[in-house]
Subunit: 381 residues, 2 copies
Amino acid sequence: MRSVYVLGASMIPFGKYPDRALDNLGRPAAIGAIRDAGIPKSDIDAAYCGTAMGGMLAGQRVLRNIGMTGIPISNVENACSSSAAAFHTAWMAVSGGHHDVALVLGVEKLTKFGGGTLPLEDEDWEVGQGMTMPALYAMRARRYMYERDLTRQQLAEIAVKAKSNGALNPYAQLRKPITVDQVLESRMIADPLRLFDCCPTGDGAAALVICDESTATRLGRRQIRVLASTLSSGHYEAGYRDITVAEISARTARAAYEMAGIGPEDVDVAEVHDAFSIAEVMYYEALGFCDPGDAPKLIDEKATHLGGRLPVNPSGGLLARGHPVGATGAAQLVEMTWQLRGETGDRQVAGAEIGLTHVTGGGISGLDHGACTINILAKVA
Amino acid sequence: MRSVYVLGASMIPFGKYPDRALDNLGRPAAIGAIRDAGIPKSDIDAAYCGTAMGGMLAGQRVLRNIGMTGIPISNVENACSSSAAAFHTAWMAVSGGHHDVALVLGVEKLTKFGGGTLPLEDEDWEVGQGMTMPALYAMRARRYMYERDLTRQQLAEIAVKAKSNGALNPYAQLRKPITVDQVLESRMIADPLRLFDCCPTGDGAAALVICDESTATRLGRRQIRVLASTLSSGHYEAGYRDITVAEISARTARAAYEMAGIGPEDVDVAEVHDAFSIAEVMYYEALGFCDPGDAPKLIDEKATHLGGRLPVNPSGGLLARGHPVGATGAAQLVEMTWQLRGETGDRQVAGAEIGLTHVTGGGISGLDHGACTINILAKVA
C-alpha cells in the first residue's frame, strides 16, 4: 500500500447561503484546494465528492464549472460522514495505486430545506416516533449525567469551549463566545440539551488534494501524511445497550490507531463529531482520550481546551464551525491539515504533529450510527 | 494491482413495488448474491451500495436487516451509473489490496416518487427549459436519422429486440414481445420517440460479490474475472457539438479496452444503456461494435440479436428489464455474470467468453453525461 499525502486544503466559511446553488458553494473550495496544492488542475486524476443531501451528481455539478471534466468522479454518501468517507475512498484509490492525485470535496446546502427538520426516509420508524437526533442525544446525556456524575454545568463547558474556539476561526458559522450561564439559559431543545448544546444547520464546502508519495516527493511537498483512514458501520443491536458508550466510534478508533501504529496518547489535536455537547463527552472516552467515566475530569482540567494537553475541536467543531452534513468530514480534515502546518493563527495548537479527525453519522436503530470515519494525519516535514 | 473475480450475483425481478421499502428490495438481492458466492456473510469485508435516489445510508439500511454490520459500508451515487460506479469502487478496494471480499449492491425505488418525472435540482436550468431526457434523445434521434439515413422502422427494431429478449428473462419488468407496428403506433413521447422507444420507470435491486484472486483460488471459484473497470465524467462542452456521437461512452470504452487488453471485436455479449432506442444505436458506434454511421446496417443484419455475431442486451436492457436508475449497473453485471457462466436459459448467448457492460447517466449541460462506467468481464474457467 502506498503512502498518501495531503497536498492542498481549502474551505469556504460555513454559514447560510440560501441564494447560492450547491455548485457555487463547492467551486471556491475546490479551486482553493487545488491552488493550495500548487499543481495545475490537469494533474488531478480523479475526484470524490461527499454529500448527503446534495442531489444527483453533486461532484460533477461543482467541477464542470471549473473545467475539471473527463476524469473519474464519484459521489459518496454516508450521512454526516459523507465527505470523510469520500476522503477514505480517495485514499483507497491513491494508496491502492489506481490514481496518483485525487481531489476530495465535501459540499452541502441545508438551507434548501428551509431550515429545521431534514427530510427523512419513511421506513425510519424510530424517527417517526420521536427518536430524532436531539431526542436521542438528550437520553444519552441524561443517562451519562446519572451514571457518571456529569453535571449540567460541565456539559455546558463543552459548548463554551466550542464557541470560544469558533470565535477565533474565520471559517466558523458561529463566531460569538458564550458563557455557561448563556448555555443554561438558552431555550430547551430536548431536556437536558438546550439550544447552545446543539450544532446549527447551514451550508458549506471543503476540499482537499491528496497524492501518492512519489508525487509528493517530486513536488517537494512530503509534508502531511495520512497515517490511517478507517471506516465502519454500526452493529444496530436491539435490546439493552449501554447508551453512554459510543461503540462504533471506539471500534473504528481502535482500527485507526492500529493502522497508524500509534495510541490515543500520541494524538496532539483532534476534531471530533460534537453534533451535541454530550457527544463530545462520549467521544473523549470512545477515542481513548481518557478512561471510561473520566470525561468530566477532562472537562474540569480544561485538558481539551486550546493550551490543554489535547485540544479538541480547535476549529469550534460542529457546535461553532457548523454542520452542513456532508461537508463536515472534509472541513475537519482541512482544519487538521492547517493545524499540522501551523497555519491556524490564534487557534493554533502549538507543536501539533499528529491529528485525528472523527465523524460519525446517521442514527439507525436508535443508538448506532450508519458510518464512522476516522482519519489520522501526521506532520512529517 | 490484484486480479478481481466475481463470486456471486443475484437480483430481484425488476418492476413496481410501491408497498416495499427500499431495504426490502435490496435485501433479497444481497442475500442471493452471498448465497450464490457460496461464502458465509462474515467473509465479506466491505460493501458498496449504488443508489441515485434511495436517500441516506441506503446500503446500511439494507444490510443491517441481514446482520451485515460493523463493516465498512459506503454509498456511491453517479445517477444511472450509480451501482456500476459502486462496483468500480469495490473493484478498486479489492484490486488495490484494501479488502479481499466485497459486496456490491444496487438499489432504487422510483415508485416512491409516484411515477412520472423524477425530482430535479433547481440549478439544472436546461431541464427547467424542457431539456428532459426524452427531449434530449428525441433531438439526437432526429439528427441521427437525418445524418445517417436511419429509418423510424430501424429504430423500432431496437425496441422490438429488447422486448423480445425481455420476454425470455424472468427478471425483466416488461415481458411481452411487441412488433414494429406496435412501436410505431404507441403514443408519442418526444417526436420521433414513442412510448416503446423509452425505458419504463420502476423499482429494483441487484447485487454481486467480488474477491481477489487468492480468495477465488482458495474457494475453487476462479471463474469470472474482471478484465477492466473504468469510469469517467463528461466534458460538458458548450457550443456546437455533433449530437449523434456519444463522446463520453467512446472515451470510456477506449480506456476499458486498453485496460482489458482487448478490442471491441473480442466482445461476445454486451449490456448497454438503452434508456431510449436511439441510445443503443449510438452506443453501437461509441463502443466500437461498428464504424460510425454503420449502426443501421448492424440493425438490418440483426447482428445484435440473440444468435447474431454480438448480442446486445440479451436481458432486455433498460427498455425491457427496466431502469430503476441506481440498480441498473449492478443488474447489467449480474446478467453478464450469468451469461458468462451459461446460466441464462432461453436468452443464453452461446459460447460467450467476454462480456461488456456499459451504463452512462445524468445529463448535464445537455449532451454530456455525468458518469459513464464500463466494466468488462471474462470467463476464465
